[in-house]
C-alpha cells in the first residue's frame, strides 16, 4: 500500500502536478435504504408530486408517492422545499474517452480505419477521468459516450457516472452505433471543392458504406443459416466487424447519424429509407426546424443542442434555441445533449434554452431524461422517478435549468455520491490559500 502511494506521487511529479491537484475523492458514498421526504418529485412520467416520498433500496427506487411507511432501517433525507428529478442523461458526449482534447495521447475516441463497428466506447471509458466527478455533481448521472472517426466509428456506450470499472458503470455497452454519412452539400464557403468533386466524393463514400452494410447483411444471413443448422456446413470464418453489425441489423442497437443542414438531413432521410431493417437516430440536426415534419414522419428521434450560432447568415438569431421545441412540436422525439466532454455538466443549460424558447420546461425535462432513455433503450432502468427503476436521481434547491440553482445530492445506482470533484477541491484549497491552523 505504501509502495503504491509513492508510485502515485512519482507519477504525479512526472506530470508536473502538485500533490494537491492530484487529490482524490476520499469520502465514501452512502448506500442502502434511503428515504427522501418532503420534496417536490418531478417524476417525468407520472406528473409532479408535492411533498412526496422516494424510497431507495440498494440500487433501486422502491417507492415514489405521497404516503409511505418509512421504517427505522431507512436513512432519512429531509428534502422539504427541494426538488427531486431523475438523473439527467447527456445523450452525446466524449466523456471518459477524451481527457484533454489537445493532447493526442489522452484522446481515445478516434480509432483508425473507416469501418469499426467492433470498437466500443465502453472499452476505453476511463472511470477515473477528472471530468467524471465534475459532471455528476451537476446532476448529469448518465452519458452516452461516443467514438467519432471514420464512416462507422464504433459503438457508443450508455455509462453511469459512478463506479470503479467500465463494467460497473455500463448501463448498456452497445448504446448505439455511430455512423458518419458523407455530406452532399459541400462544407460552405470554406470548402473549395468543385461541385463535381463534392458529388463524386459523396457518391463514392456512400457506396463504400452501402457495400459494407450489404456485406454485413450477407454475413448475418449466412451465420443465421449456419447457426440454425450447422450439420453438413463448413463453419464460416468469424469476422469481428461483421459480427458487431448483427445486433444493429437486428434492430436491437440504433444507429446515430450526424447531420446538420437541411440538405444533409433530407439526404439522410432518403438513405435510411433503404435500410429499414435498422433503427436510426439523428445527431446535431441544427436545421431540423426547416424539415421537422419530414423528420417526424420518418419517426427518427434526434440528439440536439441549443447553444450555438445560427447556421445561415440570414437566420434569425434565436433559431438554434427554438430548434428543439420546433422539432418536438412537429412530433419528433427530441433529446437535448451537451455535445461536450469536460463540460457535459452544461446539458441542463442547453435544455434550459430550449425550455425558454418554445419547448417549455416540462418537455425540456423529458428531453434530458425519459427521451434519451427511450432512444437508447434504457427506459426500463432510467429516465424517470418510478418504482422499479434504477436509483439515478438528484435533489436540487430549485429548477435545475436555472444556473443559480444548486444541486445538493446526487444518487447514481443507489449510491448517494460524495459531492466532490477536483474543481471543488481546488476551490477548497485556494479560496483562502494562505490560511493556517492555529
Amino acid at each position: 500500500m505504501k509502495k503504491l502511494n509513492i508510485f502515485a506521487v512519482l507519477v504525479a511529479l512526472l506530470f508536473g502536478l502538485t500533490a494537491t491537484a492530484e487529490a482524490q475523492i476520499t469520502d465514501k458514498p452512502e448506500y442502502g435504504k434511503i428515504a427522501i421526504t418532503g420534496a417536490t418529485l418531478h417524476t417525468v412520467t407520472n406528473g409532479t408530486i408535492e411533498g412526496g416520498i422516494i424510497l431507495i433500496d440498494g440500487d433501486e427506487i422502491t417507492f415514489v408517492g405521497e404516503n409511505a411507511r418509512i421504517t427505522n432501517e431507512y436513512t432519512r433525507i429531509d428534502a422539504s422545499g427541494k426538488h427531486v428529478y431523475p438523473g439527467f442523461i447527456d445523450g452525446w458526449s466524449g466523456l471518459g474517452l477524451v481527457e484533454i482534447s489537445a493532447v493526442p495521447v489522452t484522446v481515445d475516441d478516434s480509432e483508425l480505419g473507416q469501418f469499426n463497428p467492433h470498437m466500443y466506447a465502453f472499452t476505453a471509458f476511463n472511470p477515473h477521468s477528472a471530468s467524471v466527478p465534475v459532471t455528476r455533481v451537476s446532476g448529469v448521472t448518465t452519458v452516452l459516450s461516443h467514438p467519432s472517426s471514420g464512416s462507422i466509428s464504433g459503438k457508443a456506450s450508455v455509462m453511469d457516472l459512478w463506479g470503479y470499472s467500465p463494467d460497473s458503470m455500463a448501463v448498456k455497452k452497445s448504446g448505439a452505433l455511430v455512423m458518419n454519412l458523407p455530406s452532399s452539400g459541400g462544407g460552405g464557403w470554406w470548402d473549395n471543392r468543385s461541385e463535381e468533386e463534392i458529388k463524386k466524393q459523396y457518391e463514392e463514400n456512400l457506396k463504400e458504406i452501402n457495400d459494407f452494410i450489404d456485406k454485413a447483411r450477407f454475413y448475418d444471413r449466412m451465420m443465421k443459416a449456419y447457426e440454425a443448422d450447422p450439420s453438413g456446413k463448413t463453419k464460416p470464418d468469424h469476422d469481428p466487424r461483421m459480427e458487431a453489425m448483427r445486433e444493429v441489423l437486428a434492430g436491437e442497437v440504433p444507429v446515430v447519424i450526424s447531420v446538420d443542414d437541411e440538405k444533409e438531413i433530407l439526404d439522410a432521410l432518403e438513405w435510411i429509407k433503404k435500410h429499414n431493417d435498422m433503427r436510426f437516430i439523428f445527431e446535431g440536426v441544427s436545421e431540423g426546424w426547416r424539415v421537422a415534419e419530414e423528420i417526424a414522419e420518418a419517426g427518427v428521434p434526434v440528439l440536439t443542442t441549443t447553444l450555438y450560432t445560427p447556421s445561415r447568415d440570414y437566420d434569425n438569431y434565436q433559431r438554434p434555441y427554438q430548434n428543439p421545441g420546433l422539432m418536438a412540436e412537429a412530433g419528433v422525439k427530441v433529446a437535448i445533449v451537451s455535445n461536450d466532454t469536460e463540460n457535459s455538466r452544461n446539458t441542463a443549460f442547453e435544455a434550459g434554452y430550449a425550455a425558454t424558447y418554445g419547448m417549455g420546461t416540462e418537455e425540456a425535462v423529458r428531453a434530458v431524461t425519459i427521451n434519451p432513455a427511450e432512444i437508447f433503450g434504457v427506459d426500463d432502468k432510467l429516465g424517470s422517478l418510478e418504482a422499479g427503476k434504477q436509483a439515478n436521481l438528484f435533489i436540487a434547491d430549485g429548477d435545475p435549468f436555472e444556473p443559480l440553482t444548486k444541486i445538493e445530492h446526487v444518487f447514481i445506482q443507489g449510491y448517494k455520491i460524495p459531492m466532490d470533484s477536483r474543481q471543488i477541491q481546488l476551490y477548497q484549497e485556494f479560496l483562502d490559500r494562505d490560511a493556517v491552523n492555529e
Partner: protein, 457 residues
Amino acid sequence: MIAAFAFTAQAQDKGSVLIQNATVITVTNGDLEETDVLIRDGIIREIGKDLNAPRGVETVDATGKFVMPGIIDAHSHLNGVDINEGRNPVTAEVTMEESVDPNEVGIYHALAGGATAIHLMHGSANVIGGQGETLKLRYGTTQEGMKFEDAKRTIKFALGENPTRVHGQGNGVQPRTRMGVEQVIRNHFDEALDYKRKREAYLEAKENYDRRGRGTPPVPVAENLRYEVLNDIIEGEIYVHCHSYRADEILMLVRVFNDYGIENYTFQHANEAFKVAPELAKHGAMTSVFSDWWAYKFEVYYSTAFNASILNANGVINSINSDNDQLLRTLNHEAAKVVRYGDTSVNDAIKMITLHPAIQLGIDDRVGSIEEGKHGDLAIWSGHPLSIYSKAEMTFVDGTKYFDRENDPDDMRIQINPGADFDDGSNFREITTRRETDACLQDAFILFGEQSAHNHN
C-alpha cells in the same frame, strides 16, 4: 460582396428614451424597484421614480421587467477581419482597429443577448500580439462608427502553449518554452527603450542641425512603429491584456511588468489565476476568465469553475468573458454560473460582465453601471437577467435602440453577396458552439499543419 447599408445609424446618433417602472440593476447602487431611467441624447440624465418624459422622448413601459447595464465582453473576436498576425512573435504595431468588420451579423446577435460593447482582440499566436479595439455594438454603422470613443488603448500578450507552439514548434524561432517567452518580452522592451533613446537623440540633433545649422547632420533613425507601441506600454498609455493560463507564467509577467513599471494589466483566461490570487490582488493585477471552460488543453487541466469566485473573494477585479461568438450571446448566464459554483453574490457576478470589464478597458467612467451621467448603454430584460428564462427585450447603445424583440426580422444582414442564391453554400456560417475553443488561434492553424488544426485555444 456588396453592403446594402440598410441602416443609416451613425456613431453620432445619440438617442433619448424614458424607461418606466423597471427593476433597475444599477450595479453600483443596488437594485432599484419601480424605477425610471431617463436617457437624453445618449446620456443617462436621471434615475428615479415617476419621471416625466420630456417632449418628444419615447417612453417604454418596463413594469415587471429588469434594466441592466449593457453587457461588456472583455475578450471577443466577433468581427475581426483577421485575428492573428501570426508570422512574428512580436507584432505590437498591428491593431484590430484596422481589422474591424462592421457588417458582421453576429453583432446583431450579440445585441440580442443584451451586450453593448466588446473588446475586439488580436489572437494569441504571438507573445506580444496586436493592439485591441473596444467597440460599441452600433450595428449598421462603419468601422469608425463602431469605435468606443476614447476607450483606453489595449494590447494583447500571450504566454504558454499558443506562442510556443506557433513560433517555437511551428516556425523554429524563439520562444519554444516558457523560459523563452519571458526573454522575448524583456528583449523587446529593452530594444524599445534603446530605440527611444536613439530616436530622441536623433530628433534633437536633427533639430539643431536643420534649424540652427549647428554641428554635423545626424544619421537618421527611422520611426519604428513596433517600438513606439512598446514604449507606449511602458509609459502606461496602453493597458495590457495577457492571454495566460498557468499560475507560474502569470507570476512571471507580474515580475516583468514590475521591472518595467507597467501597472495596468489584465490576465485573460487565467485559468490558474486562483492559485495566485493573493499575489494578483497585491499587485493590482486584474483577471478576465471563462465561467467554466477547462481541460481542452494541458495548461487548463488543473483549473476550476470556481476560479472567478476565488479571485473575487481575494479582491481581484475579475470579469467573465466569452472569447466565443456563442457565449457572447449568453454572457448573463455565464456570470450566473459564478454564483452557482462559488457562491459569489448576484451583484458581484453581474459586475463581472458590466463594471469590471469596463474597468479593464478603461471605460468605467462612462459605462458598466446605471448612473446619472453615464452612457445610455443598457438592456431591458423580461425577468432577472441571471434567470435562464429571461430574454433581452430591447438593447440600447447611446440611448439608441439597436435591438427590439418586438421588431426582430429574421434576415438582419447588412452585407449581401448578390452572387449567392438562397441555398448557396456561401450563405452557411461555421457554427460556433458554446465550447468552440479556437477563436484565439484563428488564422494561425496554418502554422501547425492539418493534424492539429482543431481544438486549440
